[in-house]
């Protein structure tokens, strides 16, 4: 069970993040999670939105270079050690994490949602489910 993420290539210059989030705003798209990875010259803005198709269309219409990737939204206890447990589970299964970030959503009191990009979605979902972590579907992402 994975969710769709959009990655937008952006030059590292003033106004780019403002412009890209602006395109989403104009189309009435709500951002559920966001992260920006940057280098000296460029960055990649990754977003999970409430309407991927619409967002993709809006971004492309504004000449953005966008790619789509499937990532995992995993929930964990918002308590000390919650994150470490997820990482430990993945490490034991020999699954590499490319990157991760937290989502804006709050599925329940004291529950955090983490977006994970790993080298194998299937094995990660299996391992995390077995270890008792919750995995959110796209529908669930919208509900909270």
């Amino acid at each position: 069970m994975t969710i769709k993420q959009l990655s937008i290539f952006a030059e590292n210059r003033p106004g780019r993040i403002s412009a890209i989030t602006g395109y989403l705003a104009e189309s009435g798209i709500n951002i559920r999670a966001i992260s920006v990875a940057d280098t000296k010259d460029f960055g990649i803005m990754r977003v999970i939105v409430d309407n991927t198709e619409k967002a993709l269309k809006a971004l492309k219409a504004n000449n953005c270079s966008v790619t789509q990737t499937n990532v995992i939204a995993v929930t964990a206890d918002d308590t000390p050690g919650g994150m470490a447990k997820i990482m430990d589970t993945l490490y034991k299964e020999n699954i590499s994490v490319e990157y991760m970030y937290s989502a804006f959503i709050n599925p329940a009191k004291n529950v955090a949602c983490l977006i994970l990009r790993v080298d194998s979605n299937d094995s990660a979902v299996e391992a995390l489910t077995e270890a008792g972590f919750g995995i959110l579907s796209e529908k669930e992402m919208l509900e909270f």
Binding site: Q5, S7, F9, A10, E11, R16, A37, T39, D41, F42, G43, I44, R46, N63, C64, S65, V66, T67, T69, E98, Y99, R117
Partner: protein, 437 residues
């Protein structure tokens, strides 16, 4: 001090020069016809035979030879003697596509070095001089040509090649170099380094510099003359015609005398191919007159310039060409290396399986060329990770270096961020002012 390397030729009357050229041209055309099937075919297509070429007045009847012909004939297609008679090759940089490989017999090497000896002599060089050759050695004609010319003149020759600038200056000081041969941008760089080292032109002994292989302006000449305390002379040539020394500057420093006993120059309209009268700006075309291995008839240089006859105050009667004023094709000379946008397109096509929008930006910062390639990154070119983009950038950078021989700064940019003009992206932005127009 000898003023001329070969006074008889350099100061020959127009009648005698024409007679000499007539005689040599007839022979050269016959030599090509007999030994270069490729050009023979071009002549046949134009309905010309060697019998039609009786003097230089018939030159216009011959077909042009273009860079594309050289490419098509690579490597041996234009060779006019058996390979065993050749003693040398020289080549332009680059590994594919537009590379030119020229062949030389011993006679050709002698002829070429003789041309360079004339240039060194015109710059005031004699056997008393210490000549520091800081052109690149190797396949590039700059090092080999001036090195050979310097030997002929009898100068103490310092085969430095380019680079290692502090060492260049140290040799200059220790051995009292009086003549410097290199590209103008490298000369300017040596001048800057000299200053950075806390030295002045008084600390070195240079009196003349012979600078070529790339376009340069009068402003640059003045700057170099000031920073190195010498007189700067231009020299012209191309690998196709043997190398530097096809034309050289004299004490007047206002145009280069063409070695007309070896090369006939014509100016043509680049669009129609029509020969233009003396004094008109157009594309320079060279015909070799006595080359054995790699004779070229009516070779289009793509350099735009003006020719002028008439006796020069230096006493030479050899026709003069202005510094090139531009190009009639899209070739750029960056850091002394010939670069065609199509070469960059080839790399992009290979690395991306498609030609993305790109733009070449060339500038001159201080006296060094900067070379940037901007590429619009489309969605099929990247993934969601920084790593994938950095790998792409690295690969592109390495491939460009491999194909062109020089490094480019790769800048990945967003789609549609390169300005379009009438819907088409502007491929080349050359901010340098390398031509005096």
């Amino acid at each position: 001090m000898a003023k001329y390397w070969n006074e008889e030729i350099e100061c020959m009357s127009r009648e005698d020069m024409t007679a000499l050229q007539n005689e040599k041209l007839v022979k050269q055309v016959r030599h090509v016809w007999d030994n270069v099937p490729y050009y023979k075919k071009l002549m046949k297509e134009k309905g010309v035979t060697p019998d039609d070429i009786k003097s230089i007045d018939d030159l216009h009847k011959l077909p042009f030879l273009k860079k594309d012909d050289l490419r098509e004939c690579y490597p041996y297609g234009l060779l006019a003697v058996p390979l065993k008679d050749c003693v040398r090759i020289q080549s332009t940089s680059g590994t594919t596509g537009k590379r030119v490989v020229a062949f030389y017999t011993q006679h050709d090497v002698d002829l070429w070095e003789d041309c360079c000896a004339r240039a060194i002599t015109a710059a005031g060089g004699t056997s008393e001089d210490v000549c520091q050759v800081a052109y690149g050695y190797g396949l590039f004609t700059g090092g080999a040509g001036l090195h050979g010319g310097s030997h002929k003149v009898g100068c103490l020759t310092l085969p430095m090649s380019s680079g290692n600038t502090e060492r260049q200056i140290q040799f200059m000081r220790d051995l009292g170099s009086t003549i410097l041969c290199c590209t103008p941008s490298y000369a300017a760089y040596i001048g800057e380094t000299l200053k950075e080292m806390g030295l002045t032109p008084d600390d070195i002994n240079l009196k003349a510099g012979i600078f070529g292989a790339e376009p340069w302006t009068e402003e640059m000449r003045q700057e170099i003359e000031k920073s190195l305390g010498l007189k700067a002379y231009d020299i012209f040539g191309l690998t196709e015609t043997s190398g530097p020394g096809v034309a050289f500057e004299c004490c007047e420093q206002n145009g280069m005398h063409i070695n007309e006993d070896h090369f006939i120059a014509e100016i043509i309209d680049p669009d129609t191919g029509e020969v233009l009268p003396e004094g008109t700006k157009g594309e320079l075309v060279f015909t070799s007159l006595d080359k054995e291995a790699f004779p070229l008839l009516r070779y289009r240089t793509r350099d735009i310039c003006v020719l002028s006859k008439g006796k020069c105050s230096c006493g030479r009667t050899l026709i003069k060409m202005t510094k090139p004023m531009g190009r009639s094709d899209d070739m750029l000379i960056i850091k002394g290396v010939n670069v065609f946008p199509s070469q960059i397109e080839t790399v992009l096509l290979k690395d991306f399986n498609a030609t993305p929008n790109y733009q070449i930006v060339v500038d001159r910062v201080g006296n060094s060329d900067t070379f940037e390639i901007k590429v619009e990154l489309t969605e099929d070119m990247h993934t969601d990770t920084i790593k994938s983009i950095e790998l792409l950038e690295k690969k592109l950078s390495a491939d460009i270096k491999q194909i062109l021989g020089i490094k480019a700064k790769i800048t990945l940019c967003e789609p549609k961020s390169i300005p379009r003009s009438e819907g088409k992206a502007v491929r080349v932005i050359d901010k340098r002012k390398v031509y005096n127009n």
